[in-house]
Symmetry: C2
Subunit: 440 residues, 2 copies
C-alpha cells in the first residue's frame, strides 16, 4: 500500500535523535569547505584532516566540501582547451566538465584516506552519487537540488562526508561544473540541504577585513558582517567569497564563517561570521572600504537627447554581455544634447567602444572618450539605511586629500566613487580613517 | 499494460536496421582500445582521434576504451599511498579507487573533444553512467555486467562512445578499479556486451611475435594466434595483452586484434588477430617461443615422504599468495625421503624461504636451496595436441648448445624448461630456429 507519503524524512529524524541520545547531547551538522591552496599537497590535506577531526570532536556531524588541489584545475583546463581548440561552446563544454571535474574527485578520495589514517570514519561522495542536481548549462551550471537523505544518514552515523565542490549532474546524468569559484556555492548549498548550523569556509585569509590589509596595516578583521554588506564587498573586488555563494547563503539563511585554513586545530581562529543583519549585535554605520582597479570609463559626448536613446546604448552593451555600472547623464555644451558616461570592467572597454562606434548613426553622438586608468572606491555599511551624513564624510575626506571624484553611484548600503587610479591607496586609507575603522 | 517483456531490445534492433539502411549496408560495431602511452599527451590523443575517424569511415559504429595518460596512474597511486599510508586494505582500497579512477575520466573527455574537433560526433561515458557493474573487491574488482542499451542506441546513432577502461561501479554505487592492466579487460567486456565484430587493442607493438624481437631479428609477426596460445604467451611474460582480457575474450568468443597505435590512419597496420583455434587457417605446430627471467627455484632436500606433506608445503605458500609453478618431486639420496623443487616469481623467493623455514618442523626436511639466476623458456603451439616429437626437437636443440635443463613442465599446448638465466637468449634463438620460425 502506497500512501503517497515519502516515509524517509521521519526515519531520518528518528535516526538523528537516536544518535544524538547516544552522544548524550544534540548533534549539529557543520559544513567545512577547503579551497585549492588548503589542499594543495598531501601534507596540507593531512592538516585539513586534523581540522576536521577537531571540529568533529566538538560534537558535530561533518560534511566537508573540497576544491581541486591548487594548480590542478588550471592543468586540466589547459589540456581540455588544447584538445578541443576552436570548438563551439555547445560542442565543448560538456566534455570540458568531464575533464575538469576529475580534479575535485581526487581531493575527496585523498582527504577520506587522510581522515581514516587519524582514526576518523570518512567517505567520499561524488556529485552524481548524492546526487547534486544542476542545470545543464555546462561549465557554468547552477545547483538545482541536493538529494540528501542518504548523505544525512551517513553523516549522522558519525561518518564524515567528503563532497567535491564545483560539481553537479544534469537530469540525463551528465557531469557539470559550476564555473570558477563554484566550490563556495557548493558548500553553502550542501549546508542548506543538510540544515547545517554553520558553513565554515576555510581560506587563505583569516576573515573579512574592514579593507585590504595590503593597503593599510590599520585594517581590522570584522567579527560579523551582514550578507548584504558581504555581497557588496564580494562584487567590488574583495575576493574572499564568491558572490553566488553569498546570495545563496542569504536566500537560505545559512550562517557562513570565513576563517584561516593555515592554522593548526586549537589555535585561535574566530574568523568572520557572515549572517543576517538582525543577528549582528553591534552594528557599524560603515563596515568596510572596498576598491576595484579593473575599471574603465566611457563617455559619449553630445548625444542627441531623443526618447529611447539610452535603451539603444545599454541594450547594445547588454546584448554583448558587457556589465555596465555607474551611469551618469549630464547636459552637454551642445543645445538639446547630453553626455552619457558609464563604467565597465577594463577588459571590456575596447569592445564597448567598437560597439558604440558601430551604432553611432543610430545613437547619434559627436564624440567618444575612453579612460582606463580609473578605480572605483566604495564605502559599505547597512548603517547607511538609518544614518544621514555618510556621503558627506566621504566627499570631505577625499576633498581634503585633493582627490577629484569623476563619477558617483549609490545603493541603499553603498556609496561608490570613480577616481583616478593613482589615488586608489590614498583614498582607501583616508576613508578608512574618516569612518573610524582604523585599528591599532 | 505490462506484458513482462522488456521492449527495449526490439526498439534497438529496429533503430539499428534503420541506421544501417541509411548507410546502405549493415553497420558493424567495433571496439578500439588505446593504452596510456597511446594517449600520453594531447598530440597523441589527436592521432588516436584520426585512427577512430578512419575506422568509422569504414562504415563501423565505434566504442573506444581508453587508459589514463601515461604517468598519470602512477602519480595518482603515489598520492593515494601517501595520504593513506599504513591503512589496512579495507580502509584504503575504496577511496584509492576514487582517486585513481579519475585518470581515465580525463582521457575520455579529451578524446571526445579531439574527435569533435575533426567533425566526428562523440561523447564520453563514465563507468557509472553506462553502468559497468563490478564486484566490490576494490582495486582488483571484476566486471560483473555491462548494461548497454543506452550505449547501443548512442553508438548506432553514429556517435562514437568513449569509455574509461579499468573502472566499474559496485551495487551500492561506489567506484571500483579493476587492477593494473584492467583496461584491456574493459575493452573486451565492452566488445562482448555490444556484440562487436572485433576488439582492436592498439598498443606500442604492432602485433604478437613468434618471440621477443629484441632477442632475435628473425622474430616474425603472427597474422593469427589462438586464445589458448595467447594465454600461454601472456602469462609467460609476453606482455602484449593482459591475461584476464584474453580469458574473457575466449569465454565470450570476442575476436581481439593487437595492432600499433603509432601509425597514421591508412598506413598498413594488420596486427595480430587473437581468435578461436578453428578460425585459424594455417595452423603451426609451434607458434612462438616465450621466456621469463623473473623466476626463482626453491628446492627442499630430504623431505620426509609422508602423506600430506605436499599439502602442507603448497598450502602454506598459497595462503601467503605465492604463485608456485613447475613442481618436481624426485627421490632423495636419503632413504624414504624426496627432494621437492618448485619455481616462483623471483620477488617471492625470500619470503617463500622464510615460510618454509618457519614450517620446517611440520614439513620435515634437511636442507633448503634457493636459486635466483634462472629463466623459464617455453615453446607454445596448439599443434602439439596432434603432433608428436615436439618435445624431442626442444631437448635436442638445447642439448646441441650445451644448455642444461633444470626443470621441465608441460601443458597440452606448451613445454617449459627452467635453465640458467645466462643462457636465455641463446636458448630462445636456438628454439626459434629449430621450430622453423625464423623469418628473413
Amino acid at each position: 500500500m502506497n500512501l503517497g507519503i515519502d516515509a524517509k524524512p521521519y526515519l531520518l529524524l528518528l535516526r538523528r535523535e537516536h544518535n544524538s541520545r547516544l552522544f548524550g547531547k544534540l548533534m549539529s551538522r557543520v559544513v567545512m569547505k577547503f579551497g585549492g591552496t588548503s589542499v594543495g599537497d598531501v601534507e596540507r590535506i593531512a592538516r585539513v584532516a586534523r581540522l576536521v577531526a577537531h571540529e568533529r570532536a566538538q560534537g558535530n556531524n561533518i560534511a566537508v566540501v573540497v576544491s581541486a588541489m591548487s594548480g590542478e584545475t588550471n592543468r586540466l583546463v589547459e589540456m581540455a582547451n588544447a584538445a578541443g581548440a576552436g570548438l563551439a561552446e555547445d560542442q565543448f563544454n560538456d566534455e570540458y566538465d568531464v575533464v575538469v571535474a576529475s580534479g575535485e574527485q581526487v581531493t575527496t578520495g585523498l582527504l577520506a584516506l587522510a581522515l581514516r589514517k587519524i582514526g576518523v570514519p570518512a567517505r567520499s561522495w561524488q556529485g552524481w552519487q548524492i546526487p547534486i542536481s544542476s542545470s545543464d548549462a555546462h561549465s557554468v551550471a547552477r545547483i538545482a537540488a541536493i538529494n540528501s537523505p542518504q548523505l544525512n544518514t551517513s553523516i549522522d552515523g558519525g561518518t564524515v562526508a567528503i563532497i567535491p565542490g564545483f560539481q553537479g549532474m544534469t537530469e540525463d546524468e551528465r557531469l557539470t561544473t559550476l564555473g570558477r569559484g563554484g566550490s563556495d556555492t557548493s558548500a553553502v548549498a550542501v549546508a542548506a540541504a543538510l540544515g547545517a548550523k554553520r558553513c565554515d569556509i576555510y581560506t587563505d585569509v583569516d576573515g573579512v577585513y574592514t579593507t585590504d590589509p595590503r593597503i593599510t596595516s590599520k585594517a581590522q578583521r570584522l567579527a560579523q558582517i551582514s550578507y548584504e554588506e558581504m555581497l557588496e564587498m564580494a562584487s567590488l573586488g574583495a575576493k574572499v567569497l564568491q558572490t553566488r555563494s553569498v546570495e545563496l547563503a542569504m536566500a537560505k539563511k545559512v550562517p557562513v564563517r570565513v576563517l584561516s585554513s593555515f592554522l593548526e586545530p586549537g589555535e585561535p581562529n574566530p574568523g568572520t561570521i557572515v549572517c543576517d543583519e538582525e543577528e549582528i549585535v553591534e552594528k557599524q554605520i560603515v563596515s568596510g572600504i572596498a576598491y576595484s582597479r579593473d575599471e574603465a570609463k566611457l563617455s559619449l559626448i553630445g548625444v542627441e537627447d531623443h526618447p529611447g536613446v539610452a535603451a539603444i546604448i545599454f541594450g547594445t552593451l547588454a546584448d554583448a554581455n558587457i556589465n555596465v555600472d555607474m551611469i551618469v547623464q549630464a547636459p552637454s555644451r551642445t543645445e538639446g544634447a547630453v553626455n552619457m558616461t558609464f563604467t565597465m570592467p577594463e577588459r571590456e572597454a575596447d569592445r564597448a567602444k567598437e560597439l558604440m562606434n558601430a551604432s553611432k548613426a543610430e545613437i547619434g553622438f559627436q564624440n567618444i572618450i575612453v579612460k582606463k586608468d580609473v578605480s572605483k572606491v566604495s564605502v559599505i555599511g547597512v548603517g547607511m539605511r538609518s544614518h544621514v551624513g555618510v556621503a558627506k564624510i566621504m566627499f570631505e575626506a577625499l576633498s581634503k586629500k585633493g582627490i577629484n571624484i569623476e563619477n558617483i553611484s549609490t545603493s541603499e548600503i553603498k556609496i561608490s566613487v570613480l577616481i583616478d587610479a593613482s589615488y586608489t591607496e590614498l583614498a582607501v586609507r583616508a576613508l578608512h580613517t574618516a569612518y573610524g575603522l582604523d585599528g591599532e
